[in-house]
């Protein structure tokens, strides 16, 4: 009976929290992006389109803001009166931050987006009914809605190009919300294969598509629990902690010399992506 189940596991149901009571174990997927290394070449964005079957919506819909780039490169310019204002852009690759306490998860009426045991923010396409509340409540606005039925829309994937669609990931129809998954199809394949060997994934065994193609190695992806992993070491070196809304280093003198920071950390979504850049006056 459900009531007996409820009463039996009451304390468990009341206390489960991904970062406190039940820490992620043995996986917590995280990323760090070195903005000083980023050249804004958009290779990651293209790789994402190829890996995740993202529809290429065309000029007109892009202009309407209906683009589906899970990984987008944002450009920011310093506001000063320079001779060539176009120069000196700052690039920011932005994708789903896989928040530990994601604002999108609680508001989905059908539970189509949940927190996974390995620390991802999952998106269940076939459960989504398209209320778009998740996107409304996302501080980063990294969720993309299928405004049209792209698989059948003309020229999104011309006939020959359907052959290059990735079979490991669902093709999303109209009315479904989607977002960066940290290439979950790759993670799942990796996890299953090492399960058969009775071990956990080692650093570098699973790479995201964006990480794979980045020519300057600006993107690092890995298991934050694994002390051997590069992402763990980067987070540690930058003294960025996962489950806090204010890093202790920021209060210490000289702490801001470290480059690591997380975007909109103060809203307490506990994002899993750390950016690294020296914060300069001109960039503010």
């Amino acid at each position: 009976m459900s009531v007996s189940n409820l009463l039996e596991n009451w304390s468990e149901f009341r206390h489960k929290h991904p970062v406190e009571d039940v820490p992620h174990d043995p996986y917590k997927w995280a990323m760090s992006i070195d903005l000083d290394a980023c050249t804004g070449c958009n290779a990651c964005s293209v790789a994402c389109y190829a890996e995740n079957n993202l529809p290429v919506v065309g000029k007109e819909k892009y202009a309407h803001g209906q683009a589906m780039h899970w990984m987008r490169i944002e450009r920011y310019w310093p506001e000063d009166d320079r001779e060539f204002p176009d120069q000196g852009a700052q690039f920011l690759p932005m994708m789903c931050q896989q928040c530990e306490a994601a604002p999108c998860e609680t508001v989905c009426p059908v539970g189509a987006t949940n927190h996974t045991p390995d620390g991802l923010n999952s998106q269940v396409y076939n459960r989504c009914i398209g209320s778009r509340y998740c996107s409304a409540n996302c501080p980063f606005k990294v969720r993309y809605f299928n405004w049209y039925d792209y698989p059948t829309t003309e020229n999104v994937w011309p006939a020959e190009m359907t052959q290059q669609l990735n079979p490991d990931i669902t093709l999303r129809g109209k009315g479904v919300m989607e977002k960066c998954t940290f290439c979950i199809q790759r993670i799942r394949v990796g996890q299953r294969s090492v399960k058969n060997e009775g071990r956990v994934l080692r650093d570098g065994e699973v790479q995201t598509a964006c990480q794979q193609v980045c020519p300057t190695n600006a993107i690092t992806f890995g298991n934050l629990i694994d002390t051997e992993s590069k992402v763990h070491q980067q987070w540690k070196a930058q003294r960025v902690e996962l489950a806090v809304d204010e890093q202790t280093k920021d209060k210490e003198e000289g702490g801001s010399d470290l480059r690591g920071y997380r975007i909109l950390e103060e809203l307490r979504p506990y994002p899993s992506v750390m950016y690294m850049e020296r914060v300069r006056e001109s960039a503010i």
């Binding site: 459900s2 189940n5 009341r14 991904p18 609680t106 506990y270």
Partner: protein, 176 residues
Amino acid sequence: MSKRHLLAIFSNFDEAEAAVKELRGSSIKGFDASQDLVVKSPIEHPEVEEFLGAKPVYVQWFTLVGALAGGLLAFFLISGAQANFFDQIKGGKPVVPFPPNFVLTYEMFILGGVYISVLGFFICAGLPARRSPLYSSKVSEDQIGILVKTDEESAGVLKGIFTKHDALEIQEEAGK
């Protein structure tokens, strides 16, 4: 002993009141004013309760039960479903979070209360019912009706009382 039904129509509420008072005061064989007397009126007269004597109303018990049951149903249904919804964590909140469950419990508390109250109303007021054969559509307009049930031989006495108080018309039917 065969019973007889009488319906007297009054145009004046005061006359009807006087008639009822007299009926209650009298001792007629086979007629018990607390059971065999029904007042029909087009509007709700609070005075009717005074001169008919207070009668208990049970609707509020249905309300209580309905509201509590609705609240319990909501809380257990929702918490149970969350606990059995394969244990998905959302937004770093507990699997069975209280604030949303209380909101929904509150809503279903009201839902249960309203539904069961209406059910209680139907049960307590005896609705839906077949209309009694002694019915005048004038009652739904502007007249007061007094329906009585009595023994065959006392019918005349009652008729006398009604005519004394200026009843407009008296309908009669032999019942079981």
